[in-house]
């Protein structure tokens, strides 16, 4: 088949070209490289849509794993390749990434160019490279390629978070983001090596009969052992190692600490990082190799618990933050926690659904925050805002749509996806995996906090009386800010329609389009929904996930939706009572000591710094002493022995020719005498 699928590499190469153009020619161009980026991402979006359309109308996928082989494995050793894997999941993600990236580029015209920033070619080059890395990561056909672009995504986030490198905060935040995610990536790398070593024939491929999930399944069936471990244990260990990278990138507890600091970067970059590229990469990776994780109930349980805990943990911290972007940062961590919870709880479609809706509404919220920040002359403290509702209506209404989606209020996009996440976890928890109910409880509790902090943010920012001079007379924003907001605002309202599972369950109408879409994946790929979650899918057969209901299927749907919606509304109402007043005060002071803990983020940073300075540093110093004293000591000792003996021996070289002749003669005589003695001449 020719056409769209042949052009898939171009989707990533276009932003790469924009990167090169912006870097080398950006300063001569009218918008400093922005136009190249916009053109490239628009091209990527069009190509991605075409690919998605081809997936929808064609046979559902395209797998070309050995497009370029850079190391040919001989006789059972691994082959390293670059390839393209397009299935409904990656096609969907390509559309999301290129759409968000395009809107972020347009928004940057308002946020960066109109604000008179310097160094813009570097900025747009960074955005281009970021988009390129993420798009290539999305269509990667094997684990090694995914790892390579995963790392490149991390590098780009470093470059962009530290964009304002002359200030004090951003370089430090960039380094933190790089190091914390790299800590996770270290485990990921070991996991990649483990998977390549366990299944050398698979070459790390994600899809197809020879892929590593398929071989792992076969290994469990045949009772194969790996290095003395049975297949289940080996798969669990490899899965958890890869999960380390996921937790770093997707900011899951305890590797979430980089993300709030990453707010030091330009706001459009935050939008890109949080919605479509960096943070989404982790969750996408789990979804990509779901066939592998679904084989191990323990790995799924870990994912679900880490996700559920992170969702609740981050949501509580979002409650007390004073800066707009900080609240959003913690909400991102929390929402990615939901996606992990869904993946761990057997809700593959739910996780992808939440990934999609979250990409839209979180990009919207960040761009809205960016608009507010422009208006407030880069003051992000919500206590200096207030009353912006009437002064910037477009921003207000779109931000409100995004907030309703984030809080999970009916019928905005976030309600449908979050409800499905919780529903999937609940039914599997009520089935044979009761431990999931713990994750469900944490996720459910987080819904309340989400509603509260979201609307605390909205009310503090937009309602009440202006609390500073700038808020009285905010700087107006232009079309290039309002345009992306409008697009995303509309999407946040309607995007839930792609997968209205509760409506389907109640009325029987087949409107779970996302489910059908993801299920279109060709059977040969082994990445379809029914392969994972069908009646005899991997989740049922290997992870032992079964469905249980409280009061029949319909009853469970209604009860689950009602409880989560009720909790969200309760949070919103509490925020309304406390903060929708002309002169709000800091009610969080009433939390007492809890507030101090929350403001300090549960002392996560402190203990991680302690780990570095109190534990790692002494170990490193001891190792340094060993290296300097013992290892270098041996080497230096050997060299001083030879230097000392050389200093003595060189005395025989007098420079007098007669002495050399004498030595030669003596040597010859001795040699002859020795030969004579040994040869028995005498």
């Amino acid at each position: 088949m020719t056409g769209a699928f042949e052009l898939v590499p171009a989707i990533a190469v276009l932003p790469l070209a924009a990167f090169v153009i912006a870097l080398f020619a950006g300063k001569y161009m009218p918008k400093k490289g922005a136009l190249a980026g916009i053109a490239a991402t628009a091209g990527s979006l069009i190509l991605s849509l075409w690919v998605a359309l081809t997936v929808a109308t064609g046979d559902g996928g395209y797998n070309n794993p050995d497009m370029y082989t850079f190391v040919e494995g001989l006789g059972g050793t691994v082959t390293l390749e670059l390839g393209v894997l397009i299935d409904p999941l990656s096609a969907l993600m390509l559309v999301i990434v290129s759409l968000i990236s395009l809107l972020v580029h347009v928004f940057s015209l308002g946020y960066m160019n109109d604000e008179g920033e310097t160094g813009l070619p570097r900025y747009y080059a960074g955005l281009g490279l970021f988009t390129f890395s993420m798009l290539a990561f999305v269509f990667a056909s094997n684990l090694l390629m995914a790892f390579m672009f995963f790392e490149l995504v991390g590098l780009c986030s470093y470059l962009l978070i530290g964009f304002w490198f002359r200030e004090e905060g951003p370089p430090s935040a960039a380094k933190k983001a790089f190091l914390v995610t790299r800590f996770g990536d270290y485990f990921f790398l070991v996991g990649v090596v483990a998977i390549f070593a366990m299944f050398p024939a698979a070459a790390g491929r994600f899809a197809g009969d020879g892929s590593f999930p398929a071989l792992a399944q076969a290994a469990i069936e045949s009772g194969q052992t790996f290095y003395g471990f049975d297949a289940q244990t080996a798969i669990l260990m490899a899965g958890l190692l890869v999960l380390g990278g996921v937790m770093g990138k997707s900011a899951q507890f305890p590797l979430h600490t980089w993300l709030p600091d990453a707010m030091e970067g330009p706001t459009p970059v935050s939008a890109l990082i949080h919605a479509a590229t960096m943070v989404a990469a982790g969750v996408f990776l789990v979804a990509r190799m779901y066939g592998f994780y679904a084989l191990s109930p323990t790995a799924l349980g870990v994912i679900a618990f880490v996700g559920g805990f992170t969702a609740l943990f981050a949501a509580t911290m979002g409650v007390v933050k004073q800066e707009l972007k900080q609240v959003l940062a913690y909400s991102t961590i929390s929402q990615y926690g939901y996606m992990m919870l869904a993946l761990g709880g057997g809700g593959y479609v739910a996780a992808v659904f939440h990934l999609t809706t979250h990409a839209v509404f979180k990009a919207l919220l960040f761009l809205g925050a960016g608009s507010v920040i422009i208006a407030m002359h880069h003051n992000e403290n919500m206590w200096d805002m207030g009353g912006l509702k009437d002064r910037m209506p477009v921003t207000y209404w779109t931000f409100l749509a995004g907030s309703l989606a984030l809080a999970g209020i009916f019928p905005f996009a976030g309600f449908w996806s979050k409800d499905e996440v919780l529903f999937e976890v609940l039914i599997h928890g009520l089935g044979d995996s009761p431990l999931l109910l713990g994750g469900y409880a944490m996720g459910l509790l987080a819904v309340f906090f989400t509603g509260f902090y979201t609307f605390r943010m909205v009310f503090l920012t937009f309602h009440g009386e202006p609390r500073s001079d700038v808020a009285e007379d905010p700087e107006p924003v232009r079309w290039n800010v309002k345009g992306p907001l409008a697009v995303l605002g509309v999407l946040s309202v309607v995007l839930g329609a792609i997968n209205m599972v509760p409506i389907k369950k109640l009325t029987g109408a087949k409107i779970d389009y996302l489910h059908q879409w993801l299920d279109k994946s060709p059977d040969a790929f082994l990445t379809s929904v029914h392969h994972y979650a069908g009646d005899h899918g991997l989740l049922h057969d290997y992870a032992g996930y079964t469905k249980g209901y409280l009061a029949g299927e319909t009853g469970t749907v209604l009860i689950g939706a009602a409880v989560s919606l009720g909790l969200a509304l309760a949070g919103v109402l509490l925020a309304y009572r406390l903060y929708n007043v002309p002169q709000p005060v800091e009610h969080t002071d009433r939390l007492g000591r809890a507030k101090t803990i929350l403001m300090h983020n549960y002392y996560q940073d402190e203990y991680q710094v302690w780990l570095a300075t109190g534990l790692t540093l002494p170990v490193a110093k001891a190792a340094d002493t060993f290296d300097q004293g013992i290892v270098d000591g041996v080497v230096n000792g050997i060299s001083s022995v030879s230097r000392f003996s050389g200093r003595g021996l060189r005395r025989i070289q007098t420079g007098v020719v007669s002495n050399y002749a004498a030595l030669l003669t003596i040597g010859l005589v001795l040699l002859i005498a020795a030969f004579g003695l040994m040869g028995g001449w005498f």
Partner: protein
């Protein structure tokens, strides 16, 4: 016919005279002459055995040895000239700069 051992005694004597010259004298010209003596001692050896065994190989080698000696003298005299130019003397113990 003279027996081969007499030739060997002659060549050993010549060689020892040359060696004695090298070990005891300091004049570079005497050095060169001593080296010539030692080379010719070797040539006598070669020719003696050539005659003893009835092969011409040894004589050919002796010719090579003479050519070698001529070349060596050319280089040796060059070295002596440089020695004189730099040190004002042809005493071989004078140039001791080529050491540690």
């Amino acid at each position: 016919m003279i027996d081969v051992q007499w030739y060997l005694l002659l060549s050993a004597g010549l060689f020892c005279i040359g060696l004695f010259g090298i070990l005891t004298r300091r004049n570079a010209l005497i050095f060169l002459m001593s080296v010539e003596l030692m080379l010719n001692a070797a040539n006598i050896n070669l020719i003696a055995f050539s005659q003893h065994f009835g092969h011409v190989d040894g004589q050919v080698f002796a010719l090579f040895g003479m050519a070698l000696a001529a070349a060596e003298v050319a280089i040796g005299l060059g070295i002596i000239l440089v020695l004189y130019r730099n040190f004002g003397d042809i005493d071989v113990t004078a140039p001791t700069t080529m050491r540690w």
